[in-house]
């Protein structure tokens, strides 16, 4: 193998510019974080809402929520990215369509965040639904019997327990958001994968480039994992083993 190793490449200036390759990667890392965290926030809020609606006695609301999940879960993320970027603007009213295509600020970033957020929301919704359905049916009855309205029963009884239960499965969804955000390069978001490909072509130091990129993605996923583990510990209920919310204890 006559590969020319050069670990110093990161500090060298890019061709025809005064930034270094490290600057490129760090800008990309910044955009990756921005897209991922905004999308995750959106996915959490929408996912909890949609997952909750799926378990309500209202047939139309539950059906709407089910349709939401199927729509965003069953189309490949890359295709969704292209749909939001190229197709949806064409379907808008004329004025709006023109504005989106020509003047909308941070168009790529907003599109990517929206797309990744909606995609992930369907996966969060499924976890939240499973969490609520795993609770003993008596919990809902106990809330209602106490005089709570249905929304109060969700707010005070069902969701606090269900959300605690789904922290572990949501951990992998949180980690996936960072990995999936790399798809945003396809519509021109200058995120980590985009910058990596640019650096690799520019510097011809592919191995060093992708080593660094792998490390940065790993840091994201690892941090996400630790944050969720911390949340799990902080919200643990005394006298309750992890995941025990789902069962009756008759000690």
């Amino acid at each position: 193998m006559n590969y020319h190793w050069n670990w110093g490449i990161f500090l060298e200036p890019v061709k025809g510019g005064d930034e270094t390759y490290l600057d490129w990667l760090l800008t990309g890392f910044g955009w990756t974080l921005a897209v991922s965290l905004s999308a995750w926030l959106m996915a959490l809020m929408l996912g909890i809402l949609v997952g909750t609606l799926r378990t309500t006695p209202s047939k139309p609301l539950a059906a709407l929520a089910a349709a939401w999940v199927e729509l965003f879960r069953n189309i490949p993320l890359l295709v969704q990215m292209f749909l939001w970027f190229f197709v949806v603007p064409e379907l808008l009213p004329r004025e709006l369509s023109l504005w989106v295509k020509q003047d909308m600020p941070a168009k790529e970033f907003i599109t990517a965040t929206l797309c990744l957020g909606l995609f992930t929301s369907s996966r969060v919704a499924e976890q939240v639904r499973a969490g609520i359905e795993a609770l003993p049916s008596g919990q809902r009855m106990a809330g209602l019997a106490l005089g709570f309205t249905l929304p109060q029963t969700y707010r005070h009884v069902l969701l606090p327990c269900a959300l605690r239960m789904v922290v572990p499965p949501l951990t992998s969804e949180f980690m996936n958001v960072f990995k999936n955000s790399s798809v945003a390069f396809a519509i021109g978001v200058l995120e980590l994968t985009f910058q990596a490909r640019q650096m690799q072509e520019d510097s011809e130091q592919g191995i060093e480039t992708f080593f660094a990129v792998t490390l940065l993605y790993f840091i994201c996923a690892f941090t996400a994992n630790r944050v969720m583990a911390l949340i799990e510990r902080r919200t643990r209920v005394p006298g309750q083993m992890a995941g025990q919310m789902a069962g009756h204890q008759t000690t």
């Binding site: 003993p136 009855m141 106990a142 106490l146 709570f148 109060q152 327990c161 209920v237």
Partner: protein, 242 residues
């Protein structure tokens, strides 16, 4: 206080309640028994509207449960309910379990709710457990907390659905004692239970259900003395032989 008039209920094609009628006067204690699957839980859940029924009428304290304009949450707040599996809220402390309904439903102040909660917790003998969580209590203790939680709402009547059947034998008495005391204080109670000792001690009437029908609805002495239906006789001899 509670009045059921020809209540029928179906799950799809299968009928689970068949023209059930009875009434529970203020201060009365009614025990409902019958084989598993005979519709006891369904009947008692219809009383506070946790289950819907298709025919007949139920009124509680003069309010029709099935009527479209009835404010069900408000009605349920006046009807205490105790479940087989306690159904305490596991993520809340015992105190929170006892105060949240008072605060969120009845609009009481935190202080008033807490005072009420601690008073009732003392009454069921669990004052020192106030800051624990349900998972840290035994089944019998949890069920006593569940009764206290219902009492915190100052209910006009109480519904019990097999409150002791998920308990280990040694814990049944502590729960029954609380229920007996409640009955003696004049609480209107409708209790699904197979504890015939409890029935003998405090019940005014015993209802026997079979296949969705109220087969027998008789004063306690009459029921234990000369139950008319063969099914009730069989059932009685079976559970009394334990």
């Amino acid at each position: 206080m509670i009045e059921l008039n020809n209540v029928s209920k179906w799950y799809g094609q299968s009928q689970v309640l068949d023209a059930c009628s009875t009434r529970v006067a203020k201060g009365e204690v009614i025990v409902v028994c019958g084989p598993s699957g005979s519709g006891k839980s369904t009947l008692i859940k219809c009383v506070n509207g946790l289950e819907v029924f298709q025919q007949g009428e139920i009124t509680v304290n003069g309010i029709s449960v099935g009527a479209a304009q009835t404010d069900l949450p408000k009605l349920r707040a006046q009807v205490g309910m105790v479940f087989q599996h306690f159904e305490l809220f596991p993520h809340m402390s015992i105190t929170e379990n006892l105060t949240i309904g008072q605060i969120r439903v009845l609009g009481r102040s935190k202080e008033a709710a807490l005072a009420k909660a601690l008073g009732l917790l003392d009454r069921v003998g669990l004052k020192e457990h106030a800051s624990k969580h349900p998972g840290q209590l035994s089944g019998g203790q949890q069920q006593r907390v569940a009764i206290a939680r219902a009492l915190c709402m100052d209910p006009v009547c109480m519904l019990f659905d097999e409150p002791t059947s998920a308990l280990d034998p040694e814990m049944i008495t502590e729960v029954l004692d609380v229920m007996v005391e409640l009955a003696k204080e004049g609480m209107t109670m409708m209790c699904v239970t197979h504890e015939m000792g409890f029935a003998r001690k405090v019940a005014n009437r015993v209802i026997f259900m079979d296949q969705g029908r109220i087969v027998e609805d008789a004063p306690k002495d009459e029921f234990f003395g000369t139950p008319r239906s063969e099914r009730a006789q069989q059932f009685l001899s079976k559970i009394l032989s334990h």
